[in-house]
């Protein structure tokens, strides 16, 4: 479809705070983007959108567990819409708190029904027991999802993280094997030479299993990641530049991949 006709929706609730940054980068790439409060989204439904973003923040204060309350709200109040959205192979992206929410809904890792409401993984407290704001290197592990279609396999990109609960923990060991064999591990925290961080802090900032920074569902249309690509969209956002900064940062390619997919829808 023509990009002009396509629309993206960025959801928010009380405590969400990265919605406007996401809207800014999607708009920059030419896709019409609405920021909708959950209450509005429930009224309007999601059918007019091709892409849905759960942005970062502290939804509902992240009380109980990061993303848990919004996750339950999504399942109970928007569950049907979301399932249909996912089953129609439209794009769903969760960043940071949004990733936590998608895991809490069961949409990720996404082994069962699209949004079962029963989490099979969790983003637990960082091993450092602290909030971590830092730039990390990510190795592109899989091109199964449209979100990495504009990147190369094994490419190393730089993006920042900012979270206190980002350590991916899976319900069972078998799940990790499945994720790996089905190429659903999308990003892994990496060392300077591009090899996986091997749990080394701070390259792996939270202690996530298998250095996982992002995963996708079986079809690849739902992706969640802890780092913030929207904060590495422009060159001037990078932590270090010699002389004039480049025009863009590595995060842009992730959104470009999504746009390319929408154009083909």
């Amino acid at each position: 479809m023509k990009l002009k006709q396509a629309k993206a929706c960025v959801l928010r609730v009380g405590g969400t705070n990265c919605d406007l940054e996401i809207k800014a980068v999607l708009t920059e790439l030419g896709i019409n983007t609405d920021v909708l409060h959950m209450n509005q989204a429930i009224k309007r439904g999601l059918s007019e959108y091709q892409m849905l973003v759960f942005p970062g923040g502290f939804s509902y204060g992240d009380y109980v567990r990061a993303g848990a309350i919004w996750g339950k709200e999504v399942v109970t109040r928007l569950g049907k819409d979301l399932e249909r959205f996912i089953d129609e192979e439209k794009l769903v992206l969760g960043i940071c708190n949004g990733f936590q929410v998608l895991v809490e809904t069961g949409a990720l890792p996404g082994d069962g029904a699209s949004a079962s409401g029963i989490p099979t993984a969790v983003l637990a407290n960082n091993n450092s027991a602290k909030y971590e704001c830092r730039w990390v290197r990510l190795k592109v592990e899989s091109k199964k999802t449209p979100f990495t279609s504009a990147l190369n396999k094994d490419q190393v990109i730089a993006v920042p993280v900012g979270h206190g609960e980002g350590r991916l923990v899976l319900q069972s060991e078998g799940m990790l094997e499945d994720l790996i064999s089905e190429r659903r591990v999308v990003f892994r925290y990496a060392l300077e030479d591009g090899s996986p961080a091997g749990g080394k802090y701070p390259e792996n900032p939270n202690g996530a299993i298998f250095d996982i920074a992002g995963i996708c569902n079986k079809k690849g249309n739902v992706m969640g990641m802890m780092p913030h690509p929207e904060r590495a969209f422009y060159g001037w956002q990078l932590p270090s530049w010699g002389g004039e900064p480049p025009e863009f940062g590595d995060g842009k390619a992730i959104f470009e991949g999504a746009i390319a997919y929408i154009k083909k829808m």
């Binding site: 009380g14 405590g15 502290f58 992240d62 971590e132 929207e230 060159g235 956002q237």
Partner: protein, 781 residues
């Protein structure tokens, strides 16, 4: 207080009257004490005179709040008697005076509203405010610090600003203090440190605001008196700054429920911290950033819809101060029905509801026909609200509860407190000669200074604060992959403009002379701003002092204010906002007098901002500014336990000339990297540049540093003000030299391959310290 003086005026609501006319001096002080008014005898006597009939407890509490040091800054507005005569109104005589005389057309609103406002670009203004939250943080570190951040963010909302960043400057006692040496009522610095750091981070992170600037200082004189400075910065379209409350407008209260938390916060902040402070835990508010996040959305939507004629945040004094101030500023009056307010618990006495400082509340004045739209927005954002009353022309502040009038005051009387007089004894620092043998090993000195608690990396704190959220932080508090320090933060607030907002701070509490301490703090805040490319700097002052009723405290405060005037003028930087926190006294004595200066500048293009990271081998390294034998209060002397030595004396006109030249050379693209020279002198500044640079280092020759001293250690660790280390483009040194013609400065070395700090001392001895060792000392890994 004597029972005969109190009379129950009403059962429901429960209101008492207090017979002031029948009270003698002793009674008056008992009333002030037991009701928590924190008013002096003179003030109580003034009230006795003004009230013909017995006032209600609600009315007396209103005076207690409004006349508190916290709310009206009576010390700064009073008379000061000194040996050389009387100084009237420190604020008008020094701080605002400088601003008035500088008369900058780009100052949009100064000392008037909740925050200072300066033009950012043609259509946008920038808002800045810095507050302290010391007393609450001493009692309940997490809640005290978090609500400090929450409060200052609301100050930005209170001028219709969109908050874009926060800052924090924290001063603690040494973390290794011995528990058994702490008097009762003083909490261990480590406990306070952990709570405060977590509290600041929790609120900023939850609100989605980057914490971009700050400092952490440790000293014994902060053990009993922690300092928590919280700053917030915002932007707003000029035409959306609407403050035009009219007769007939509704007073709409929105946000969190009102409860018993934060009762008497302002009067608590206007008295010394005593052993009993623990019992005042209820004076500390409870933070809930989730509510404030929604309140921010709603406030900005109301602003964008032009649905309100005025806005203010609820801070000190709660509803009593917010409604009174809004009515008084607009030349109006107001009747408030506190029975409509949403409460956290039943059975709050009217005066408690009236003065409670429960958090996350805003007050709007709304024309009646727009109330429906305002209400709709508040409901969509899930915020409780109520109409408190309607503005009228009465000039009175009336409070009702259940149809009963519990307070009825003339606003003019309320806002005309008696002028107070303080006495000041000024002391000038006379330096002792310092006997110190010149160390044989400068390498050891550099490494040990790098690991000093006051100089080492703040990474362990900074990383727990999100400084990237909002995706608008161009220059970050930690530079590059190695996380070296930057001098100031640069934000890009607007999506369609390259213009950046530059935020810096300066404080030098260790300098042993109040005047030169203040001078250096101002100069440093500006210097840090200019070091990254900032210009057209405006400054904010935050005084944290001891009890002003004591002559020596007042004397140093007076001298600091004098420096504020002198250096604001000399550096051409107007004050736009300020706040003082006095009565920082504990059983361990007064706080170290501490003046924080926050600078906000602009940079035309964030892509031209300069960092501390070295950019190219072979580029010459210059030191700009004169190095003098000024080590009094320096990190070097302190590390050796020495007091004495000359205090650094800032030279305003010279600093201004140097900064102008630096800005010119930056705009011409000659400057590749830059770092201001402050604590630890040239040695530490050069080491930090090497630390920032993964692959490059600095090689320099101390003999080439323009200086008035000959000792290697004095030259490398002197803390003379007004200096920068600059890496210039190798091909453009002639232009650079020309710009700096006639100013003190010299090429002292160059950027070399391999991250290290190499230098030759005055005796010709050569040193080379690998950055791995510098980093290990500085950040611990």
């Amino acid at each position: 207080m004597r029972k005969a003086l109190i009379k129950k005026a009403s059962d429901s609501p429960e209101v008492y009257t207090i017979n002031l006319r029948g009270a003698d001096d002793e009674d008056l002080m008992q009333i002030s004490g037991e009701m928590g008014l924190a008013l002096s005898l003179a003030e109580m006597k003034a009230l006795k005179k003004r009230f013909a009939k017995a006032p209600t407890d609600v009315e007396l509490q209103t005076f207690g709040q409004t006349w508190s040091e916290h709310c009206i800054h009576k010390t700064f507005r009073g008379d000061v008697v000194t040996e050389r005569g009387v100084v009237s109104n420190l604020l008008k005589s020094y701080i605002a005076k400088a601003t008035n005389e500088l008369n900058k057309p780009w100052c949009f609103s100064v000392f008037e509203d909740n925050a200072g406002l300066v033009e950012f670009d043609k259509c946008t203004v920038a808002a800045a405010k810095v507050e302290t939250h010391n007393h609450p943080s001493a009692v309940e570190p997490f809640g005290g610090a978090a609500t400090g951040v929450g409060g200052v963010i609301r100050d930005i909302l209170g001028v219709w600003g969109e908050p874009i960043a926060v800052s924090d400057v924290l001063c603690f006692g040494p973390l290794d203090a011995k528990q058994e040496e702490l008097p009762p009522g003083v909490k261990h610095p480590k406990y306070i440190y952990k709570g405060v750091v977590a509290g600041v981070g929790s609120y900023g992170n939850n609100m989605g605001l980057p914490t971009v600037s700050g400092a952490v200082i440790f000293d014994r004189q902060y053990t009993g008196n922690v300092i928590v400075y919280c700053g917030a910065f915002g932007v707003l379209p000029k035409e959306k700054y609407i403050k035009d409350t009219r007769e007939g407008d509704l007073a709409v209260l929105a946000g969190g429920k009102t409860g018993r938390d934060g009762i008497h916060g302002v009067t608590f902040a206007s008295a010394d911290l005593s052993e009993e402070a623990e019992s005042l835990r209820s004076a500390v508010q409870i933070p809930n950033p989730l509510v404030e996040e929604r309140l921010r959305r709603a406030t900005l939507r109301i602003r964008d819809g032009r649905l309100a004629t005025g806005v203010t945040d609820l801070g000190g004094g709660g509803v009593s101060c917010a409604t009174g101030e809004m009515a008084y500023r607009s030349g109006l009056g107001l009747t408030v029905d506190i029975g409509k307010m949403h409460l956290k618990e039943p059975d709050l006495a009217p005066w408690e509801i009236w003065v409670s400082e429960s958090q996350e509340r805003m007050l709007y004045s709304v024309p009646e026909e727009k109330f429906g739209s305002v209400s709709e927005i508040l409901e969509e954002e899930e915020i409780e609200h109520c109409v408190l009353g309607r503005f009228d022309k009465s000039g009175r502040l009336r409070v009702e509860m259940g149809k009963k009038v519990v307070c009825d005051l003339d606003l003019e009387t309320l806002y005309s407190p008696p002028k107070i007089t303080r006495k000041a004894k000024e002391e000038v620092y006379h330096p002792k000669r310092v006997e110190l043998e010149e160390p044989k090993d400068l390498e050891g000195e550099v490494l040990s200074l790098l690991s000093e608690p006051n100089l080492r990396s703040r990474e362990s704190v900074i990383r727990t604060y999100d400084h990237e959220v909002r995706a608008a932080t161009a220059i970050k508090p930690l530079q590059g992959p190695e996380g070296g320090p930057n001098d100031a933060a640069v934000l890009k607030p607007l999506s369609d403009s390259w213009m950046g907002l530059v935020i810096s701070c300066g404080l030098n509490p260790f300098l042993p002379d109040a005047y030169w301490m203040a001078a250096a703090s101002i100069e440093e805040a500006v210097r840090n701003n200019v070091a990254v490319g900032g210009r057209r700097v405006a400054i904010l002052d935050n005084f944290v002092w001891g009890n002003p009723e004591k002559e020596d405290r007042m004397g140093s405060l007076l001298r600091a204010c004098e420096a504020c005037y002198d250096f604001s003028k000399a550096l051409d930087v107007p004050f736009i906002s300020g706040k003082d926190s006095l009565y920082n006294e504990s059983p361990l004595g007064p706080v170290r007098p501490t003046l924080l200066i926050t600078g906000i500048g602009i940079i035309p293009d964030v892509r031209k901002a300069v960092t501390t990271e070295l950019k190219g081998e072979g580029n010459p390294v210059y030191v700009i500014g004169m190095t003098k034998d000024e080590l009094g209060g320096s990190a070097y002397y302190r590390s050796k336990g020495l007091d004495g030595g000359e205090v650094p004396k800032a030279n305003g006109p010279m600093a201004k000339a140097v900064m102008n030249a630096l800005t010119t050379s930056m705009d011409m693209g000659i400057v590749r990297s830059c770092h201001d020279v402050s604590e630890g002198g040239i040695g530490l500044a050069a080491a930090e540049m090497a630390i920032s640079s993964p692959r490059r280092g600095i090689k320099m020759d101390l003999k080439r540093i323009p200086s008035q001293t000959k000792r290697s250690d004095s030259i490398i660790f002197s803390e003379s003000t007004g200096r920068f280390l600059v890496e210039a483009d190798a091909g453009r040194t002639e232009e650079f030299d020309k710009i700096f013609y006639g100013l003190p400065g010299a090429k002292i070395g160059e950027v070399v391959d391999g991250s290290r700090l190499a230098f030759m001392d005055m005796g010709g001895k050569e040193y080379s310290i690998d950055s791995k060792r510098l980093r290990l000392a500085w950040r611990g890994y």
